[in-house]
């Protein structure tokens, strides 16, 4: 893991609210280079809001966001777009363009206005399509893809930017177990190569198995942050999620065992 560069993204006391209602209480959080960070918490805990703040889509009501030590500003919007890629929860494709064209949109931040994609750009697009196993779909129209294929195309599009950080809002939602594992394996393998990844997840077993670090949010508050076994304690599960392990054998250390393996 490369940890020599300054943190790609750091939040210093950021908070967010709508019409006087606090959605995210002031919190500090720094992402590390090459880390797969999972945001967990019940619905409405502020995971998506935090990701959207990170992506620059929302303006924090207080506190500061730092991008490589520099405050977020209009001046570094284009620079950020080359280094931070965002995948929304609902993957949108308005026109039935091809998979290849969709993935190539990830190169837009690197293309000067009015310049067409050259052979180098094409090579990058083909490479990420191969890495994400969507190259056989390249001519297919995006509106004909299954949920699993669409999720991989969205990741390919994000990777095509060659970012330092990928923010993904529930990338495994609506996927069957095999595709959930495929997506998590893909993100983890990329993080091992130095990519920082920050995702929100509902599946705690997936979160604990794949994430280097978890951040537990509850009603806009940061409850715990650290190793999955330190975060998904019986205490936290019962107070935040109102759940307990079904089997008495499960302890804080081994709750997080995901029952499935990819073939």
């Amino acid at each position: 893991m490369k940890r020599d560069r300054p943190s790609p993204l750091a939040a210093r006391g950021i908070e967010y609210g709508v019409a006087g209602r606090a959605i995210l209480r002031p919190l500090d959080l720094a992402l590390h280079q090459g880390e797969l960070l999972g945001l967990v918490g019940p619905n409405g805990s502020g995971k998506s809001t935090l990701l959207r703040l990170f992506a620059g889509l929302l303006r924090p009501a207080g506190g500061r966001l730092l991008f490589r030590g520099e405050p977020y500003a209009e001046a570094n919007r284009e620079c950020r777009s080359r280094e931070i890629a965002y995948i929304p929860q609902k993957i949108i494709a308005h026109w039935p363009i091809s998979v290849e064209q969709t993935v190539a949109l990830g190169r837009l931040p690197h293309l000067a206005p009015g310049r067409d994609a050259g052979p180098e750009e094409r090579r990058i697009v083909e490479a990420v399509m191969a890495e994400t196993d969507v190259d056989h779909l390249s001519r297919r129209a995006v509106d004909t893809l299954s949920g699993g294929e669409l999720a991989r195309v969205a990741i390919a599009r994000a990777l095509a930017t060659r970012p330092d950080l990928i923010l993904a809002d529930e990338p495994t939602a609506a996927l069957d177990p095999s595709h959930q594992l495929a997506v998590m394996e893909l993100l983890r393998s990329r993080s091992r190569l130095g990519l920082s990844v920050c995702i929100s997840l509902h599946d705690l077993t997936l979160a604990s198995r794949y994430c280097d670090r978890l951040v537990l949010l509850d009603r806009g508050r940061l409850i715990a942050s650290g190793d999955p076994s330190q975060v998904l304690t019986l205490q936290n599960l019962s107070s935040v999620y109102k759940i307990r392990p079904a089997s008495p054998d499960l302890t804080a250390d081994n709750i997080p065992e995901h029952p499935w393996r990819p073939l």
Partner: protein
């Protein structure tokens, strides 16, 4: 992908060139193709030259420029709203321009320039209003509603003016103007239309990247570094200038802004950015062909807007039916 667009542009350009030659040759006095060039310097062909340069050429240019603005603005609005049923009408430019021009005709504007300045002011005001009301909505529903509301209100005001018109001549003048025509324009009018249209086209030429990115949704487009607020302003300004100038000068020429981008979209692999210039050429071709059809029509003075609407309404129906079968 870009090669497909370039080939399409070349083909449309070629067709447009042929149509333009036809347009210069066809009329109450037919000018054979061979005489078109000769007439320019042959002293004996004085009459032909006058017909060519002072009647046919401005008419042809106006049809092409207005059509190009309608087509390109239509492609931009459809891309912005990500809706194939959208058209420049939704920005308020069409109805606002018509209202402004009709107000000037109603109050007896003596010259065409009174009418076109009224039209431009109307278009600018309506577009600014629609943008102000709906510009912030991320998914465009408010924008569409605002466009429809401002459009219907403008039409209502035009009806009011028709209703209150002091004499039947004023009514007739307004109605005839509204039917849309590129006849009776001179080079002075082209000199008014061209610069405004050029600005509009240049504004839109810079919108392609943003429109492509919008395919992934407004939020993802923003994270790709696109200034979506700026993109909306740019497209609205282009509509006010391009469509506003076209409508002010030619009256309403319906369906071109809707149909031109729609027909061409599959030919550029559905990429909204690559669709802009082909839609300009396609729009120019459509209006030019409609104007040629008007001149070939045997009985009486047919208006160009009538032709485009007659052809356009069934097309719109076809569009809806096809969309329904897709779902």
């Amino acid at each position: 992908m870009m090669r497909a667009a370039a080939r399409l542009n070349a083909l449309l350009g070629l067709l447009l060139g042929v149509a333009a030659l036809l347009s210069l040759g066809i009329g109450s006095v037919a000018i054979p193709a061979g005489d078109l060039v000769a007439a320019l310097w042959d002293a004996r062909a004085e009459t032909t030259r006058i017909i060519l340069l002072e009647i046919r050429l401005p008419r042809t240019l106006t049809a092409m420029i207005a059509g190009a603005s309608l087509g390109m603005c239509g492609a931009a609005v459809q891309g912005l709203l990500r809706n194939p049923l959208a058209s420049p009408d939704l920005t308020g430019a069409t109805s606002g321009g018509a209202l402004g021009a009709v107000v000037m005709i109603y109050f007896g504007a003596a010259s065409i320039f009174g009418v076109v300045s009224g039209g431009m002011l109307g278009a600018l005001a309506a577009v600014a209003l629609v943008h102000h009301l709906g510009g912030r909505d991320p998914n465009g529903f408010t924008l569409i509603l605002a466009g429809v509301a401002v459009g219907s209100f403008s039409i209502a005001l035009i009806s009011l003016l028709l209703n209150l018109a002091p004499n039947p001549y004023a009514v007739q003048e307004i109605v005839v103007w509204m039917l849309g025509s590129v006849a009776d324009v001179g080079m002075d009018e082209v000199a008014f239309l061209l610069p405004l249209s050029l600005i509009a086209w240049l504004l839109l030429a810079g919108a392609g990247r943003g429109l492509d990115a919008l395919n992934l949704g407004e939020e993802t487009a923003r994270t790709l570094g696109m200034d979506i607020t700026g993109l909306k302003r740019r497209i609205f300004a282009a509509n006010a200038l391009g469509v506003g100038a076209a409508v002010s000068l030619t009256g309403s020429i319906g369906f071109v802004g809707l149909a031109a981008p729609h027909i061409l979209r599959p030919l550029v692999n559905w990429m909204p950015g690559a669709l802009l210039w082909p839609s300009a050429l396609g729009g120019a071709l459509m209006v030019l062909l409609a104007d040629i059809a008007v001149r070939l029509f045997p009985a009486g003075d047919l208006k160009i807007g009538v032709i485009t609407s007659l052809a356009g309404a069934p097309f719109f129906l076809h569009l809806i039916l096809r969309m329904r079968s897709r779902q």
